[in-house]
């Protein structure tokens, strides 16, 4: 249970086409992340799968059955919302039990499942509180609890961590991944944060302006971005993109090189430049180096202990085996073999 397939699905609001016709298949037990900048249609796509919006054309198949016209309540999917969407007038216990109550489950069975979910999510002490009395992270867990008691075919997460502060976000990220490992249920997760996408996903779907730019595992996307958009979107700090004569040397319109694939030296190298801002993160230091080959500074990742003065003269050398080449359309050019 939990295989989802989109066939030529599109969505328009009035005359605006938010999702262009697209195909996508999500395998049983997979953790799939939809990632893209805001307004790319990733949340809309999730809501189409949930049934909270009608598709304009195409079909949504769940476990091989056409669910295009099925009401959200009947699709057997559970959703965790960005705002958590907890019922403020119900206790945590009642919140978690709500889907079971709607399914008219036996009262004892309801209690058993709620207790089980509370144990898994460490919510045991809070069952009789109202959502308003909980912290952000606890609310998040209640929302997840409400989703897991239903034992759904798949979980849908709509930017669930964006309302949490940075430290909690990392913790919840691990918890959700852990949950996936344990339940082995299909999860579809929407985020605009590529770090979340990289760390959690089995499969990433990069979306932009209602179009799927690339589908693949995190490492595939990192190592072989299919086009300039994915190259720039995946990876932090961003990949350096250089156009013009330097790119032509490699028979490309644009070349891309990640900050971690550039050597920096005070004495020699291929590109001469001056150090601009330095960001010391402890383990790593990022230097923004102004070079003649590119109008924008080139970001370089160096060991944490390296210190260079503002304005110092340095030399950069890209490790050419990690160079990405793109044609004038922005598409990846395959390595000359």
């Amino acid at each position: 249970m939990g295989q989802i397939e989109l066939k030529q699905v599109s969505k328009s609001f009035g005359t605006v086409e938010v999702i262009r016709p697209l195909d996508l298949s999500i395998e049983e037990g997979e953790f799939v992340v939809f990632v893209g900048p805001s307004g790319c249609g990733k949340s809309t796509l999730l809501r189409l799968i949930a049934g909270l919006e009608d598709v304009t054309s195409g079909a949504v198949l769940i476990d091989g059955e056409d669910a295009t016209g099925t009401a959200p309540a009947k699709r057997g999917l559970a959703m965790v919302f960005q705002s958590y969407a907890l019922y403020p007038h119900m206790s945590v216990r009642k919140n978690i039990a709500f889907p079971l109550r709607m399914a008219k489950l036996d009262k004892n069975e309801q209690d058993r499942r709620v207790e089980e979910a509370a144990r898994v999510l460490n919510l045991g002490d809070y069952l009789d509180r109202r959502p308003g009395q909980l912290s952000g992270g606890q609310r998040q867990r209640v929302a997840i609890g409400r989703a897991i008691v239903r034992e759904p075919a798949a979980f849908l997460f709509d930017e669930p961590l964006s309302n949490l502060d940075a430290a909690l976000r990392v913790g919840m990220r691990l918890e959700i991944s852990e949950l996936h490992k344990r339940l082995r249920t299909t999860m579809i997760y929407v985020t605009h944060d590529q770090v979340e996408a990289m760390t959690m996903a089995d499969k990433i779907v990069v979306l932009q302006a209602g179009v799927i730019e690339q589908v693949g595992s995190p490492l595939e996307l990192y190592q072989r971005p299919r086009n300039l958009f994915v190259a720039g979107f995946i990876g932090s700090p961003r990949m350096n993109l250089i156009e013009g004569p330097e790119a032509a040397k490699y028979d490309a319109h644009t070349i891309g090189i990640r900050p971690e694939h550039i050597e920096i030296s005070e004495s020699q190298g291929s590109w001469k430049g001056t150090v601009g801002l330095s960001e010391h993160l402890g383990a790593d230091t990022f230097f923004h180096v102004q070079c003649a080959v590119s109008p924008t500074p080139i970001t370089v990742r160096a060991p944490g202990e390296m210190i260079l003065k503002y304005g110092a003269e340095v030399h950069l050398t890209p490790r050419t085996q990690y160079l990405h080449r793109f044609d004038s359309e922005g598409l990846r050019k395959n390595e000359p073999s």
Binding site: L52, E53, D54
Partner: protein
């Protein structure tokens, strides 16, 4: 943002309200319109011949019609003026730091709960009666001639009574709006060197614009149909001094049993109310969208 299913559910769920209100509007309206062209008096038996514009002609040329129009206008305008200005004053005052604000607010709201028939009777007898009324006694105590409110200043007396009833409403709305004003805005203005007068004119008043609109809108709806206050105090008199349009139509249709004439008056009242309504709707449409 919704699915076809929820949209059709929405249509289904809104339809009882729409059908009821549509019926409430169209059926009596149609009948009023129809009656207005008939010679139809409840105490004159027989059929009701079609008389064209006759009812309208008689209604509009009746001197009391002009008086009623002017009185309606003065009544609505007078009460609006008193309640809006008074309400702003009260709201600003209540917004100041003080003790026992809750108790004071309760006292200020009280008149709103008093039914119109009661407030009219109480004011008429216990306060405005020139012999035994409260004001009469005060005037007597001060050695002044008492005012006979309902013969000397009948319309103004009714304006005062109605204003007393509606001032709490205006105060409450404006006070609530005032409390939502961002204090930082005022502090910023103070830092920019704005004095109390300019802070009021450039920050407080614009902030209250929406609330003032609401006050005017809602009060106008109710004030156009002031009825009970006139019925129990003056019966529209002396002469037609306190007859407003509503009361005039009441007199024609229910006291003189002239359904045709009353209906013609009703149609006119509806047309006038619609003119006011269009104007007000424009105003709130703009002010309430935010």
């Amino acid at each position: 943002m919704a699915t076809k299913a929820s949209r059709s559910a929405a249509r289904l769920m809104i339809s009882p309200a729409v059908i009821l209100l549509l019926g409430w509007m169209l059926i009596p309206l149609g009948m009023t319109l129809y009656f207005s062209f008939l010679r139809y008096n409840l105490i004159i038996p027989g059929n009701h011949p079609f008389v064209g514009w006759e009812n309208y002609h008689w209604f509009v040329t009746d001197p009391s019609f002009n008086a009623a129009m002017i009185n309606t206008l003065l009544l609505v305008g007078g009460v609006l003026l008193i309640t809006v200005l008074g309400g702003i004053g009260f709201a600003l005052l209540l917004d100041q730091p003080m003790w026992g604000q809750g108790v004071i607010r309760i006292m200020v709201i009280a008149p709103f709960f008093v039914m119109p028939t009661v407030s009219a009777l109480v004011w008429k007898n216990m306060f405005m009666n020139p012999v035994n009324g409260f004001f009469g006694h005060i005037a007597h105590g001060l050695g002044l001639p008492p005012i006979d409110f309902f013969s000397q200043i009948p319309l103004l007396s009714i304006v005062l009574i109605v204003s007393w009833q509606w001032l709490p409403f205006a105060t409450l709305i404006l006070f609530t709006a005032l409390q939502s004003l961002d204090q930082e805005q005022l502090e910023a203005a103070e830092m920019d060197g704005a004095r109390f007068g300019s802070r009021f004119a450039f920050i407080v008043l614009p902030h209250l614009a929406r609330a003032i609109t609401v006050v005017i809108l809602i009060q106008t709806i109710f004030l156009l149909s002031i009825f009970a206050e006139i019925l129990v105090t003056t019966n529209g008199g002396p002469g037609t001094a306190t007859t407003n349009l509503t009361y005039l139509i009441y007199v024609s249709s229910l006291l003189q049993y002239d359904v045709g004439m009353g209906s013609a008056g009703g149609v006119i009242a509806i047309i006038l109310a619609n003119i006011v309504a269009i104007f007000l709707m424009r105003m709130i449409g703009k002010n309430l969208d935010a």
